[in-house]
């Protein structure tokens, strides 16, 4: 269906390529939105407001990077919100019991919880030969159920968490908050692996045509499991960031996040039918959604509009994606067949 951008007509210049890049639309939308909101209310560009946007984006972007990895392989992971909640509660419980634990251990624990959940998704999708949509729709409820079962209505509050952990959610290195730093590292690592390494290219190949990938000797089953593992682990990491930022965790943490995450990836140009998209795009999508959220608040518009806008954006993005695909297909048809 969707044509990978890498196959799009050859770039004539850097500027032309930049202009054609799918991400440029989001950047444009971002600039317009920020400029408009700032003229209405200059407070929107204050340090605190920008910091809040960046912290919100960091959590969403970590999730969106994982989602992009899965969606590129023509799968989807709807369970990420529940994995985030489970991991946040697990890490909160761990730290409440052992206040002396260093932050790194919390991060690793969250990654591990998420990785186990991702492994469950990946194994069922791989060995059951069933669509990821159904599997992760099921685990979306199953993992959330486990959280509720475990938490049983109790809540972990900031005063029960060690100061070092809360400080990690608050503090910054050289002016850049830790959370943002981690998100950037995740994004760069995933982006480079997807773009430049064999394993990453294999994921695109699988998404473009699973059969062709199989015939080309790509271990589709193993790669699928790895993709879900990555998505789960990153959702687990996001759970730690969530706990550190908000300090309050209950069983409902991250409910409904899956929608924003899928929206961020789709709006960022990751095709639902696989084979196309980038983690940069997904992260930009996360930034756009977060900015929309805070712009609505600043502009004093009913927050209820936010979800409707998210839905409209998804429709707009997949519509635009379709348009690009049709255009590229036409362009390829017109050109010589040696492309």
């Amino acid at each position: 269906m969707a044509v990978p951008r890498e196959l799009a007509p050859t770039r004539k210049s850097l500027l032309g390529g930049l202009f054609r890049a799918r991400e440029s639309g989001i950047v444009l939308a971002l600039v317009v939105l920020v400029a408009f909101t700032a003229t209405q209310n200059p407070r929107f560009l204050s340090g605190q407001s920008i910091r809040d946007i960046l912290l919100g984006t960091a959590i969403l972007a970590v999730l969106a990077v994982g989602q992009a990895v899965v969606m590129i392989t023509r799968n989807i992971d709807l369970s990420v919100g529940s994995v985030l909640g489970l991991s946040a509660f697990a890490v909160g419980t761990l730290l409440r019991g052992n206040p002396g634990l260093p932050v790194v251990v919390a991060l690793l624990a969250g990654l591990a919880v998420g990785a186990v959940c991702g492994l469950v998704n990946g194994a069922v999708v791989r060995f059951g030969q069933v669509p990821a949509l159904v599997v992760t729709l099921g685990t979306l409820y199953a993992f959330r159920g486990v959280s509720y079962f475990w938490a049983g209505g109790q809540q972990i509050n900031a005063d029960q968490l060690p100061g070092s952990f809360l400080g990690f959610g608050d503090s910054a290195v050289l002016g850049v908050p830790w959370l943002v730093l981690i998100a950037v590292v995740v994004m760069v690592v995933a982006g480079v692996v997807l773009r430049n390494y064999r394993g990453g290219r294999e994921l695109y190949a699988m998404g473009s045509s699973p059969q062709a990938a199989r015939l080309a000797g790509i271990k589709v089953g193993r790669n699928t499991t790895v993709a879900f593992l990555v998505s789960g682990a990153l959702a687990g990491l996001a759970g730690v960031l969530f706990a550190a930022r908000f300090g309050t965790v209950d069983a409902a943490a991250g409910t409904g996040y899956e929608l924003n995450v899928v929206a961020a990836a789709v709006v960022g140009g990751v095709a639902v039918f696989g084979g196309s998209g980038s983690v940069w795009g997904a992260s930009l999508g996360a930034l756009l959604l977060t900015v929309i959220g805070s712009a609505l608040a600043v502009l004093d518009i009913n927050q209820f509009w936010q979800q409707a806008i998210v839905g409209a954006l998804i429709l707009l993005a997949i519509g635009a994606d379709r348009l690009v695909a049709v255009r590229v297909a036409q362009a390829l048809k017109k050109k010589d067949s040696h492309v």
Binding site: M1, I76, V124, G128, Q129, V130, P131, L133, V134, V135, L137, G138, T139, L140, Y141, A142, F143, R144, G145, V146, S147, Y148, F149, A251, L259, V262, A263, V266, V272, F273, N302, F304, W305, Q306, Q307, A308, I309, V310, G311, A312, L313, I314, L315, I318, G319, R322
Partner: protein, 347 residues
Amino acid sequence: MSDAVVPRGRPAWLSRLASWDAAVILVTIVVLLVASGVVDNFGTGRNYTFLLLDLLPIALIALPMTFIIVTGEIDLSVASTLGLTSAVMGSLWNAGLTIESIIPISIVLGAILGAVNGFFVTMLKLPSLAVTIGTMALYRGLAFVVLGDGAVADFPRAYTSWVTGTLGGGPIPNVLVPLAVLAVVFGVVLHATPIGRAVFAAGASEQAARFAGVRTGRLKFWLYVVCGAMSGLAGVLWTLRYSSARADNGFGMELAVVAAVLLGGVSIFGGKGTLPGVLAGVVLLAGLQNALRLQDVSNEALNIVTGVLLIVSVLLPNIVSSARAALRRRRRRSPSPDPGALAGIEQ
């Protein structure tokens, strides 16, 4: 998916009995019987009434959802459509319209919301999964825009008490009558008319169906319209049953609907399934939840049950069919099957 092939030498009725949907119907009956005997208060008329009222909206939406999934598409926006119609009902009631005009408006609104899905899926040829994830957010968001997080509760007594009332004071709710009529209509259309055959054909192979003269696009468009209208109707009944129009009504119900349909033996890949199986799936899911709730199992733990059932319902048929295929290969082969050859057949 070669399990449709009936092995030679086995009577048709036997293989029919061994099919997934027949098994689900059987399991459903067993679960209901066992629960009536074992679970306190399950076997009472009052509880059966609640059980039937609970499964009503899911069943209403599962009927058209069966058609849509059989064609190989999906609609995740149904619960949001239910919420939006409920919210609109509330605001129209606040605006002073009569309930007699609000009800048809709500159902037509549902049909329009379905038509929007159908437009994106069939005219713009976008993947239904992505489209309905989008409209799921859009419709739910609009529901909150229309009604905020408040509730409208003062619907006329005559209507709310009819919806919660039962036939002659027995255990059968009044609203089961229209549901039964609709179920028969949908069943006949799916299994005994050219429309039903076109639905199966479109799901088995869209291209082949088109070559055979089925207008698959038009067919799917109308399926989405019908699904929207039924979701609207479910929204009306939900609102009247609880006498409460809220924007978050039916939140998360798309899972229950999809789970029930798949549990009933409809293949998520399209082209396969029966309506009796789906209705059994609806009853099984609702019955299990009802029984567990009576055992004081929390709502949240029920989520695990629903989620796991959903996964099992797609996993088990696959395992069974691949086990059957392996058995058939083994029978055809010499006594010792070559493990290397078997491994290569994993598609």
